[in-house]
Amino acid sequence: MLLLLIVWQGAVWLFELEAWKLPGPVEIVREAASIWPRLLEHTWATTKLAVFGFALGAATGVLVAAVLHLVPGARSGLYPLLVLTQNIPTIVLYPLLMIWLGLGLLPKLVLIVLVCFFPIAVAMLSGLSQRDPRLFDYLAMIGAGKWRIFRDLELPGAIPYLFSGLKIAAAYSITGVIVAEWLGASSGIGYYIKLSYSGFLVTRVFAGVAIIVLLSLAVFGVIVALERWCMRWQRHKEGS
């Protein structure tokens, strides 16, 4: 990563590239610092939307997976519909959502939820159906009902799957927010990048991109930490 930055900066100096074509990392950091308060405001707007939308999307994904798993026939009946929600490109979908839901927060949240819930629901669903047959037989033999088996066997067993879904969805949620802000918003990093493009302020575009990358890494880090905590029972394995 550091090497990449050095090569990048070196190339910019060596070939004397103009800042409006490709600014170097040093240039980007300097520019970002000079407009920091405004950048922070936009970052905050994007973060709020991404985190809120992601949380809502994750809840929807888990709920959808649980319903499809628990209601007989729901899985085969509704799965194609789920896939359908993912076939419409976000760039086409968002203007439609704006037409239906207006310009406010709502269409953005709906977009992020739509983008987020799918990988979570799919991962969770495969996790729920991968229950350990030995444990299932044992619980069935001692008379555990469907709900007990769901709560105490299938749900905890699906946690690792849930987290792989969450990691993908987290990346999606940030791209989703950027698209939504680009297409119709008055704040946020996506809006800021679009504005900078219009003014050929390529360095500021890069500053925006850098913030998106940092934001994605931060969210990813939080999820990994959460995963570790949820799977803490495994930690003793290496020690023993």
Binding site: D137, A140, M141, G143, W233, H236
Partner: protein, 264 residues
């Protein structure tokens, strides 16, 4: 003696069309109150199927199952169960695993915790309540698994080759451990096993099962008194019984030599 378990003429067939295979061909099993009954038979003789019928996971094609006098054919939740592999949930601690099994059997959570705390030291696992199952050895896991079954307030305990996955030495220790625990508590037990010694050491009665389709070939009352000494296997009578059971079982298994040559 009242019967805790009565299986009457259980027939079970799997498959359809040409690949039909009758696994159980009219099996009768009775377990009395406080009695320890073992079923021994060759591998693949339908012992597991019989347990699945008793547990209500499968329904017999014909025949009925009674537990404590009531017909429970196809119903779940009437037995305590100990499988061959400990089947402890890996994300729950030892105590939480015991609590889960007991609450499924209708014990309140606080009572389950109390029982677990009271009993773990008695099975040599003091201080392991908060450990996760994978940090325990195979023998310790099976002790937890047995304790779960023992503490569940159910009339019948079903043990499915409880020590089959353990190494020989641990197995021997576990048999003696189970003998002492059982003799102090006298629950009604139905155990399936491959091991003749295990059946002789632990049981009041042994049922010898034939294979495909399974029927009960013979029923033997084990003549050794209680409490039994762990040195029972040195008794000449023990070896005579062992020999007899071995011959019965050899007769019950499909004969490999006959199928091959025929001339020998």
């Amino acid at each position: 003696m009242t019967a805790v378990l009565e299986v009457r003429q259980a027939v079970k067939t799997f498959g359809s069309g040409r690949s039909v295979q009758q696994v159980l061909g009219g099996v009768d099993v009775t377990v009395g109150e406080g009695e320890f009954v073992s079923i021994i038979g060759p591998s693949g003789s339908g012992k597991t199927t019989l347990f699945r019928l008793i547990g209500g996971l499968e329904r017999p094609d014909s025949g009925e199952i009674r537990i404590q006098g009531r017909v429970v054919t196809g119903e779940r939740g009437h037995i305590a169960y100990m499988p061959q592999q400990a089947a402890l949930l890996p994300w729950r601690t030892v105590t939480d695993n015991i609590v889960l099994a007991l609450t499924i059997a209708g014990v309140t959570e606080s009572e389950a915790r109390r029982l677990s705390a009271e009993w773990l030291p008695r099975i040599g696992l003091a201080g392991y309540g908060d450990s996760y199952p994978h940090t325990l050895s195979g023998g310790m896991q099976q002790r937890v698994s047995f304790l779960r079954a023992l503490l569940a307030p159910r009339g019948l305990m079903c043990l499915d080759e409880p020590f089959g996955a353990l190494d020989a030495l641990t197995r021997l220790q576990m048999q003696q451990w189970l003998l002492s625990i059982w003799e102090a508590n006298r629950r009604s037990v139905l155990m399936v096993t491959h091991s003749i010694e295990e059946a002789l050491l632990l049981s009041d009665r042994i049922l010898v099962m034939s294979s495909s389709p399974a029927t009960i070939l013979r029923e033997l009352e084990v003549p050794f008194g209680r409490p039994r000494s762990p040195e029972l296997w040195t008794d000449p009578q023990f070896n005579a019984w062992k020999q007899e059971l071995y011959e019965l079982l050899s007769g019950a298994a499909p004969k490999m030599a006959d199928e091959k040559g025929g001339e020998l």
